[in-house]
């Protein structure tokens, strides 16, 4: 009887509302998760957050191309939809700052240029610390193998306070491309020290034939890594990594600026003062420059017969030894999860996939970057499939052991590059390196002080 009464009881408005709310909550549970939503029981499951959609913001680069090319693999693996965009590097960096600052960024995952934005992002805590997530077996893939990430990448990915807000993804090592044909014509070998480098450039320069021994960036801002590369050979960072004091007027810094001046003023083509990597690459590819100091990621076009006149004649040299040390300046990118994201777990899964062993091996195969995982360099299949010469890979693996950050980890990196870049450009025009560095240091010191107080 009671049962019947209950059965025959008409469904009221409140019951309907309650039932609808419960059904909606159940259906939308996977879409409403926050950072705590994955705290369910059960083992790791790639498909736990299927049905969600994440946005990925990347700088236009071969790395971005690679991620987009294999994106479907992630979608099939997780059931998470991905909306990704690549925009030019400068605009991408501006987008990150402006959108993070708004507190409501349009992306869940972002590619971060460590050498420009690491400290800014770290200081503002705009990205999620991945350390607690790494310890959580429910959200971290069992085959992640975090120990496979090399020291250089982990160093870049870790903030001064120990937070780790990115997965190591790519490191660009600075090295010297050299033209074997021009070297052979002069009977010279690849230099092993800064002194030999100067001597080689001098002997190779023949302005009347339009051949110059050296080419490197002269354009302000872009030129600073050339100077810091020379500084690292003097065992000196432009800014002390711990005290954050400028070390730009030290004898080592001045010696590096003097070397920069000599190489670009005496052994590089007229007009170097306005050269960015593009102009350097063009000169080198056309066989007009003996040596070119820049990032190892610029190699693929040099070996492309449709673009280069020196295919098969390119040498890939590890940075020569400086007066005090031998270092390769490093720059790089990490992938991290936005602190403002409503889909942090899905975003975290994407980062794991994007930096897994297979993707890192593909990065090496494509020649578009240098993986941060050690396994990529020892995997025989990967190494055998690389289209670039073996010498390129050897240069990369040797540089890996002598890598050191090429730009200071400070908030106003762009201003640092701008102010010191102008000074370096002036030295090519004949200005005194010590005076230019002193002027730039006086100009930049208040900016640095203010940024640290803020």
């Amino acid at each position: 009887m009671t049962r019947n009464v209950v059965r025959s009881r008409p469904v009221g408005r409140r019951i309907m509302l309650k039932g609808s709310a419960a059904a909606l909550a159940g259906l939308s549970a996977p879409y409403l998760n926050t950072v705590t939503a994955y705290s369910q029981t059960g083992a790791f499951n790639w498909k736990r957050f299927q049905g969600q959609k994440i946005e990925v913001a990347m700088a236009k680069s071969p790395r971005g191309d690679l991620l987009q090319k294999h994106e479907k693999e992630f979608v099939e693996l997780t059931g998470i939809q991905v909306g990704s965009e690549q925009i030019p590097e400068q605009q991408h960096r501006q987008k990150l700052v402006i959108e993070f600052n708004s507190g409501n960024p349009s992306f869940d995952v972002q590619m971060l240029a460590w050498h420009v934005q690491k400290r800014m992002v770290g200081k503002s805590k705009w990205m999620e610390d991945i350390r607690p997530l790494l310890k959580d077996a429910q959200i971290t893939a069992p085959d992640l193998d975090f120990a496979d990430f090399g020291e250089a990448g982990l160093r870049w990915a870790t903030q001064a306070d120990g937070r780790m807000d990115t997965f190591p993804f790519n490191i660009d090592y600075w090295m010297i491309y050299w033209n074997k044909e021009l070297f052979a014509a002069k009977g010279m070998k690849y230099p092993q020290s800064f002194e030999e480098m100067v001597d080689t450039a001098r002997k190779m320069t023949d302005a009347s034939a339009g051949i110059y021994g050296w080419t490197s960036r002269g354009l302000k801002n872009a030129n600073v890594p050339v100077w810091t590369s020379f500084m690292l050979g003097n065992d000196m960072d432009p800014v002390h990594p711990k005290t954050l004091q400028l070390q730009t007027t030290t004898p080592e810094a001045v010696a590096a600026a003097a070397l920069y001046q000599k190489m670009n003023k005496e052994y590089a083509a007229p007009g170097t003062v306005g050269y960015n990597w593009y102009e350097c690459q063009a000169s080198f590819m056309q066989g007009r420059a003996g040596m070119w100091l820049d990032g190892i990621g610029f190699a693929p076009p040099l070996e492309d017969p449709t673009k280069s006149k020196i295919v098969g004649k390119v040498g890939y040299g590890v940075m020569p030894k400086g007066p005090k040390a031998r270092h390769s300046a490093t720059f790089g990118d990490g992938l991290g999860v936005s602190s403002f994201s409503k889909k942090k777990e899905a975003a975290y899964l994407y980062c794991q996939w994007a930096t897994n062993k297979a993707m890192q091996a593909r990065l090496l195969q494509s020649g578009g970057g240098s993986p941060c995982r050690k396994s990529a360099y020892v995997d025989k299949e990967t190494v055998a499939s690389i289209k670039l010469p073996r010498e390129w890979l050897d240069c990369m693996t040797e540089s890996l052991n002598i890598g050191r950050p090429g730009l200071p980890e400070i908030v106003p990196v762009t201003e640092f590059r701008d102010v010191f870049g102008i000074g370096l450009t002036n030295t090519i025009g004949g200005a005194d390196p010590a005076a230019e560095l002193k002027k730039a240091t006086e100009q930049f010191q208040p900016v640095l002080d203010k940024s640290e107080k803020a």
């Binding site: 501006q94 600052n101 002269g218 302000k220 306005g274 050269y275 450009t425």
Partner: protein, 305 residues
């Protein structure tokens, strides 16, 4: 009565109150446009003024600093140099296309075979996107590999450093502007020539005037209002030039081609000094208004009387 006199649309003999009501109704049509103007012009301006009196770096707290940003600008040598570069660039990028454009208009105004085809070819550069134009010119300017130095070499002239030298960078950038925008001036002046009356020329021929005298005393005064219009358009364009300079030199070598626009871009979007950049915007606005007033004055003087 007064209301009727001021409202020509009111029917004759209609009560005064009706006309006033109608005028009130008309105002309603203005409100949407007014709201948009307030939202996209007035508010941004007021907000820019507000920001310009604050020390505000993206990611940091805002702090009221009064006119400190303006005082800092006055003492900023780099900013002062950028003003100089802007004026120098604008002067050349207006004057030279005006000269060449007027000359081209005089040529194309004459009747000769294939005139239509050649005129079409002449205006092609104007249709190209500035960024694409800048990228092509960057390749052409390359000191070692560029086609410009190759052509100089064919003529036995030693290579030039073009945009890669502080001394020649602005004049080289103006070269791009001349190539790009001379056709626009030509089209405007050509319109003026087509509209010019023929009677003064007939009288001049009867009076025995030379060709130069006819140009100096008839043609030039007749097309002067059109040249001034072209000058106004070119000045606004040249002052706001950003894409060409940024793509080709990024303000370099050093800061030798850094115009106010480039300086402003760096402060706002590279260094994130929003307060300081806002002060630059205000000063730039004053400069633009002053130049506009000067050009309007010249336009009044050049009108046909």
């Amino acid at each position: 009565m007064v209301a009727q006199a001021r409202a020509p649309s009111a029917a004759p003999g209609a009560p005064a109150g009706t006309a006033i009501d109608r005028r009130r109704q008309y105002y309603r049509f203005i409100y949407p446009a007014l709201a948009i103007i307030l939202a996209v012009i007035v508010f941004p301006w007021l907000f820019t003024l507000y920001m310009s009196v604050h020390e505000w770096k993206v990611g940091s707290a805002r702090e009221f600093v009064g006119f400190d940003n303006y005082l800092k600008l006055a003492a900023d040598q780099r900013f002062r140099e950028s003003v100089g570069h802007t004026l120098y660039f604008t002067f050349l990028a207006v004057l030279l296309p005006l000269g060449f454009g007027t000359l081209a208009a005089l040529v194309f105004h004459r009747d000769f075979p294939l005139r239509g085809l050649l005129r079409t070819i002449f205006i092609l550069p104007m249709m190209a996107t500035p960024v694409a134009v800048a990228l092509v010119w960057t390749m052409m300017f390359h000191p070692q590999l560029g086609v410009l130095n190759y052509l100089l070499g064919l003529a036995g002239i030693p290579p030039h450093t073009w945009v890669y030298s502080p001394g020649t960078v602005i004049s080289s950038l103006v070269l791009v502007e001349i190539w790009h925008w001379t056709p626009l001036v030509m089209l405007i002046v050509l319109g003026g020539l087509a509209a010019a009356p023929t009677e003064p020329y007939e009288s001049a021929v009867i009076d025995g005037a030379s060709r130069f005298q006819m140009f100096r005393y008839i043609t030039l005064p007749l097309i002067m209002p059109f040249i001034v219009v072209a000058a106004v358009i070119r000045t606004i364009d040249a002052l706001k030039t950003f894409d060409t300079i940024y793509v080709i030199t990024q303000g370099g070598p050093g800061t030798s081609s850094e115009t106010i626009n480039i300086f402003l871009y760096l402060q706002a979007f590279a260094f994130y000094n929003i307060g300081y950049a806002s002060a630059v915007v205000v000063v730039f606005f004053v400069l633009v208004v002053m130049l506009s007033l000067l050009l309007l004055y010249l336009r009044q003087r050049a009108k046909w009387t």
